[in-house]
């Protein structure tokens, strides 16, 4: 039993308490002095604390000359108590949304987690120290250990070549499959459109790199298959005694590599698809909504015409457009439907959102120039609607309009029709109201004049100027657009508006840019809300889902790491004799530990690399091949993928870190073997 090193425990405690205090201070400073989002804030401050705990463990391992298990346990325990006392004093805000201050139970969990985190991260850090020879003089060299590890894993030139082949060929084939599926698809499509049908080859030619890569993969696959058959044939000719027996650990090593790569593969593909959904959602939201809204703490925003130029001149702002937003009821005959009626300026709207590009029939500009809206002839849907050929409702609405051009304007003289203001509606709304371009619909606001029994709803007739398709069901079924002057008149707002829609050059800096705009206007009474804030529910749900998915899938990697663990235990048992001999020749404990840690890391790294390549190839395949989704359910036609390099790096890091953890138990066991343990066997 080793001596308890009080000094190490004391230093650990002192540093851990400082790290905890640092975390609190950092969070406080960042939340008041920076524009980081709450999530980023937590990530940065707790990340810094975690790194500090890791480093403290590393340091303490040198002071205690080993893992310093008991020292770290004692200091982490005391830290938890101190953390509880401090938090209890401070009354920090709760993490839960329905409480303001954290209650005692939450504080106990917090401080407990701080203690456990300090202990586990400390032990993790200490393991690096032990590995580097913390017990005595540190030794960073590992050439000899790597040599031994290589023979244990049979990593000679042949197996390395085989691994590279196996790692590259399946992803390559998958990639090739995607490329050719896409080429085939394009040929079929262009033939269907009646264009001069290009051959599959010519449409592939554009993507030269893809062609070369996939050809290489196919050739390599054929070559490998050939070699394998050759080897099989040779084996059949061998005499029974000539066959080299393969130790169980080699097979187990292969299984461990496969396990890690499957885990990493699943993790990367699922996360990429989920960020694909997220990116798709973001794109659609930002197609209809601006990056941020500039609002005012007052109902009177009539000075907007002078504010606009100031806003646009702020660097980083790409566009600004006024808007008015109110809830109304739209009706046509007997079908009323609730709607968000938005007054916009068709001139500048295109600079903050994608509305002009979402038009599938009519013109957005007709809302400010309603005389342009056709009275007699029927506005044809644009190309986009043809791509939506499977949308039966839209088709029906259009056909009905063609058959009965003035069904919804019966009895109204054309001159009156021409004077009616224009309104644009989403495509879902269009068939809910059964209204096509040129049709008359009623807009009703409950905020009418005061009558003897309360406000009397006010209504006004509008003609449909255009139909929009955003790709988001909520938007297509809920939004209607009219011109700013019409809206001001209808809602009796005078010269005022609700606010300005803003677009920035960098979407991801929307929060900071918004604050800059507000600052440029002199702050209060102006305020800005960015798109993430406006759609927080949606994105936090998505983020939570992604986190849950990541955690579940990390379990696959975790299980794979148990494979590594058992493989290494088998290896240690198999090599007991060898370990004894090495030790009798003067190998240090940390040397022996390094051997097995390196082996686990190599297994983990090879598996991770293979999994990443497979994941990348799968994403490319999904993207090119275009897995079909039911558009009525998902409102999106293909499975989206978004390859985020940061995510891949994260997954790789998790996989390698877990493999490292898996090596610690067997490696420590091996290093503690006495030299005579293996010499007595036989």
């Amino acid at each position: 039993m080793k001596r308890f090193v009080w000094r190490a425990a004391g230093v650990a405690l002192w540093l851990q308490v400082s790290a905890f205090a640092g975390q609190l201070a950092l969070r406080h400073i960042l939340s008041s002095k920076s524009l980081l989002s709450p999530d980023a804030l937590l990530f940065v401050s707790f990340g810094a604390e975690a790194v500090a705990f890791l480093l403290i463990g590393f340091l303490v391992s040198f002071l205690a000359g080993g893992f310093a298990r008991r020292e770290l346990l004692v200091s982490a325990g005391i830290l938890a108590v101190i953390a509880f006392a401090v938090l209890h004093r401070m009354k920090p805000p709760s993490f839960s949304y329905d409480k303001f201050f954290a209650d005692t139970r939450e504080l106990v969990i917090w401080s407990g987690l701080t203690g456990v985190g300090a202990l586990l991260l400390g032990l993790w850090g200490a393991s690096f120290g032990v590995l580097l020879g913390a017990a005595e003089t540190p030794d960073l060299r590992f050439a000899f250990e790597a040599g031994i590890a290589r023979t244990h894993l049979r990593l000679n030139r042949r197996t390395a070549a085989m691994l590279v082949g196996l790692g590259l060929v399946p992803p390559g084939l998958l990639f090739a499959a995607g490329v050719f599926a896409r080429a085939y698809d394009e040929t079929v499509r262009s033939r269907a459109l009646g264009a001069a049908a290009p051959t599959s080859l010519s449409s592939v030619r554009g993507d030269a790199a893809a062609v070369i890569l996939s050809a290489a993969a196919v050739v390599a696959a054929l070559f490998l298959a050939g070699r394998w058959l050759q080897a099989r044939a040779q084996l059949a000719h061998l005499q029974p005694g000539q066959r080299r027996k393969r130790p169980a650990t080699v097979v187990m090593t292969a299984i461990s590599i496969a396990g890690v790569s499957v885990g990493v593969w699943a993790l990367t593909v699922v996360l990429s698809v989920m960020s694909g959904f997220e990116a798709d959602l973001k794109k659609k939201i930002l197609g209809t909504n601006a990056h941020a809204l500039l609002l005012k703490y007052s109902s009177d925003f009539s000075e907007w015409k002078s504010v606009m130029p100031k806003v646009v001149s702020v660097p980083g702002v790409a566009g600004a457009s006024p808007f008015i937003l109110n809830e109304v009821i739209l009706s046509q005959g007997q079908t009323p439907t609730g709607a968000e009626l938005k007054g916009i300026d068709p001139e500048t709207a295109g600079s903050v959102n994608e509305l002009p590009r979402q038009v599938i029939a009519g013109e957005l500009s007709w809302i400010s120039d309603p005389t342009q809206i056709p009275v007699r002839e029927t506005a044809k849907p644009r190309d986009k609607a043809r791509l939506l050929g499977d949308d039966q409702y839209l088709q029906d609405t259009f056909e009905r309009k063609e058959a009965h051009p003035d069904e919804l304007a019966k009895g109204i003289p054309p001159e009156t029709l021409q004077k009616m203001p224009g309104i644009c509606v989403g495509k879902e709304m269009s068939h809910a109201l059964r209204a096509w371009v040129g049709d008359v619909i009623q807009v009703i606001t409950p905020l009418g004049d005061m009558g003897p029994t309360g406000p009397i709803p006010r209504s006004k007739s509008f003609r449909v100027a255009c139909i929009l398709y955003s790709g988001m069901y909520e938007y297509d079924s809920k939004f209607a657009y009219i011109g700013i002057p019409e809206a001001q008149k209808f809602f009796r707002m005078g010269e005022s508006i609700t606010g300005l829609e803003l677009k920035f050059k960098d979407v991801d800096a929307a929060r900071a840019e918004g604050r800059r705009v507000v600052a440029a206007l002199g702050g209060f009474p102006y305020r800005a809300k960015d798109w993430a804030e406006l759609n927080r529910n949606l994105f936090s749900a998505l983020k939570l889902e992604k986190l849950a998915m990541a955690i579940i899938l990390t379990f696959i990697v975790l299980v794979a790491c148990f494979n590594i663990l058992s493989t290494l235990i088998m290896l240690v048992l198999e090599k007991t004799k060898e370990i004894s001999i090495l030790k009798s020749m003067g190998a240090r404990d940390s040397s022996v530990m390094k051997i097995f840690v390196l082996e686990g890391l190599v297994i983990g790294a090879i598996g991770t690399a293979m999994g990443l390549l497979l994941g990348l190839a799968s994403c490319s395949f999904i993207e090119r091949f275009g897995l079909q989704l039911d558009p009525d359910v998902y409102y999106i036609s293909n499975l989206p993928v978004n390859v985020d390099s940061g995510q891949f790096v994260m997954v790789a890091f998790i996989a390698v870190a877990l493999s490292y953890l898996a090596t610690l138990y067997p490696a420590t066991k091996a290093s503690r073997l006495s030299p005579v343990d293996g010499l007595r066997e036989d």
Partner: protein
């Protein structure tokens, strides 16, 4: 290779400053309730460059004795002193380094690493001592030449004869020119002539490099030819 670090070969068996001194070594094993008392206060001293044979009937504890004095296995009681310093009082790492530099082992079942060639096996102690690989292979090659195996460097243990394996084990034990060689029946399982050859080699090396040695053997003729003869009997070392 030259006469590097060659300590003068002492004639007298009694030395004032011994290289190795064992004081009252006890070693017991426990088999359930039963205590097997193998060493019962064995003491002796060995001077630098001194060569001794150790004999005794099978199971008397010769291998155990070598492991204890070779710092591989701590004694139940007693001390092992090198240059007057208690070896087992050293930390793990200094002891490992000491072993690496100063003690060479030839085990009873020679124990080469089966996945490495003769050259790699021989170079292993040098690599453990962090000697750069080319240099380590250089000294290993020289040592293999000394034991007469320069034509078998790339063979793995499985591809060598028993005598050749013994010689590789010897080369490995001597590659860093330790001050003490502990050889446990280096000539066991070998025919008379080969055993004789290995024995002669040991004596040669002792004279050329001044390496002290304790050689366990069952061959009374070979034991007789050693300058000093020890016998392990009832857990004690006695001069024969």
């Amino acid at each position: 290779m030259g006469e590097v670090e060659a300590a003068p070969v002492r004639e007298s068996p009694r030395i004032e400053a011994p290289l190795l001194e064992a004081r009252g070594l006890h070693k017991s094993y426990w088999l359930g309730e039963k205590e097997i008392h193998v060493l019962r206060g064995a003491s002796f001293a060995l001077g630098p460059g001194e060569m001794a044979s150790l004999v005794g009937p099978s199971g008397v504890g010769k291998s155990t004795f070598l492991h204890v004095v070779g710092t591989l296995d701590p004694p139940t009681a007693g001390q092992v002193l090198y240059d007057g310093q208690d070896a087992f009082a050293m930390g793990e790492e200094p002891l490992a380094r000491f072993r690496n530099r100063n003690i060479g082992f030839v085990f009873q079942f020679h124990y080469l690493l089966p996945e490495f060639t003769a050259l790699e096996n021989t170079a292993m102690p040098a690599l453990i001592g962090r000697m750069p690989r080319p240099e380590a292979e250089q000294v290993a090659r020289q040592m293999l030449e000394t034991v007469g195996l320069s034509h078998r460097v790339e063979h793995k243990p499985g591809e060598l004869s028993g005598g050749e394996q013994q010689r590789v084990a010897l080369a490995r034990a001597l590659v860093l020119k330790p001050r003490l060689l502990l050889a446990d029946e280096p000539t066991g399982n070998l025919d008379e002539a080969t055993g004789e050859g290995i024995h002669q080699l040991l004596v040669d090396l002792n004279q050329r490099l001044g390496i002290a040695a304790i050689v366990v053997t069952h061959n009374p003729r070979l034991a007789e030819r050693m300058p000093r003869r020890l016998r392990l009997q009832e857990g004690l070392v006695i001069e024969a």
